[in-house]
């Protein structure tokens, strides 16, 4: 016997094992219908679970992307301040984050695929369940128990097959979600405590150092501005433009040179 025949037989045997038979076959219809509705409910929860898991991965990716962008900026800043050592460190950290992001992307794609499959499967099941409900009512209204038997068997085993198929899809999706959740949990822990915390510390340290370097050059600029104003040596004049723009705003702020309001205030104090 070929593989597909055996596969079919075993699958169908398993699917029909889950169908309970009642003395009055028409009860089988009602019971089967109840089970179908339960399965539909379960599928909707399944879809929601996969979506939740996918959103969690999305949030993690977002926060990693922010870290990566921050490190990229810091690398640029470092290069512009001639601090290749800091730039290198920032880029190394960014590469590690890019690796994590790549993994997350794969997980995200897998979850999306599972989600789409479950949505498809639940739509197919929904269509069958609706058809089954109509068929069930027709059979119950038209036939006696004995006459109904064959028709019921057909409808019930047809939908049993669908339920078995959907059941396996659900199981797969649940396995995937469980897998992803343990990975997501591990990454959350990493972000909260371990290696990624080091990353943000690194990033803070880089920032502090970059700020210090840029503060240093601002101090130099201010120094040369003041020197210029005092008519001292203007050797550091090339740093001037930065200082001039910093200076620009306050000078345009012209206040009317009236008396200060402190005098009337004094009168009020008896």
């Amino acid at each position: 016997m070929g593989l597909m025949k055996r596969f079919s037989m075993i699958f169908k045997a398993k699917a029909s094992k889950t169908l309970d038979r009642y003395e009055d076959p028409r009860e089988t219809l009602d019971y089967s219908y109840e089970r179908q509705l339960e399965l539909l409910q379960k599928m909707r929860r399944g879809v929601a679970d996969v979506a939740t898991s996918r959103k969690r991965v999305e949030l993690q990716a977002q926060s990693l992307q922010q870290s990566a962008a921050k490190l990229e900026n810091q690398a640029r800043q470092a290069v512009s301040q001639n601090r290749d050592d800091l730039a290198r460190e920032a880029l190394t950290r960014r590469a590690a984050i890019a690796g994590q992001l790549g993994d997350l992307q794969v997980q995200h794609d897998q979850l999306k695929t599972e989600e789409a499959k479950l949505v498809d499967a639940s739509q197919r099941l929904q269509a069958k369940v609706e058809a089954f409900r109509t068929r069930k009512e027709t059979i119950k209204a038209t036939y006696t128990a004995a006459e109904a038997q064959t028709r019921i068997n057909e409808a019930v085993s047809g939908i049993g097959e669908e339920m078995g198929d959907v059941g396996l899809a659900m199981q797969r999706a649940e396995d995937k979600v469980a897998q992803m959740q343990s990975r997501a949990g591990a990454l959350d822990e990493l972000m909260a405590s371990g290696a990624l915390d080091n990353l943000s510390q690194t990033s803070d340290r880089l920032e502090a150092e970059l700020n210090r370097t840029s503060a240093d050059s601002m101090v130099e600029a201010e120094l040369s501005r003041i020197r210029g104003e005092l008519g001292g040596p203007t050797t550091a004049k090339q740093l001037g433009p930065r200082a001039e723009t910093a200076q620009g705003a306050p000078t345009q702020d012209e206040r009317p040179a009236e008396e200060t309001p402190s005098a009337p205030a004094q009168e009020e104090q008896r």
């Binding site: 593989l3 075993i10 269509a127 899809a169």
Partner: protein
């Protein structure tokens, strides 16, 4: 003949395509026996494609059972074995 592709739905496949399905089925069997995942994937996709292209997909509200049930396109040898499970791989 009505064939179900798991995860996809049911197809009505004309009788004259059955020989081709059997030939592809043998390839599938060989791949499983040899535990050759690549050959398995090729054979499975070939088999499923033959059902899709040679058959007509039945509407979603069709209620009848299928004569053949085929694994979903993303199945692995491992998963097919899991379904075959207790029956083992020795053809009956």
């Amino acid at each position: 003949m009505i064939v179900r592709i798991m995860g996809e739905g049911q197809f009505e496949v004309p009788q004259e395509r059955v020989d081709e399905l059997n030939r592809l089925d043998q390839e599938l069997q060989k791949a499983v026996d040899a535990d050759d995942e690549d050959a398995f994937q090729t054979a499975l996709q070939g088999l499923l494609e033959s059902v899709r292209s040679g058959g007509n997909q039945l509407p979603g509200d069709y209620l009848g059972p299928s004569e053949l049930v085929l694994p979903s396109p993303d199945s692995t040898i491992e998963e097919v074995r899991a379904v075959l499970g207790e029956e083992g791989l020795i053809p009956g």
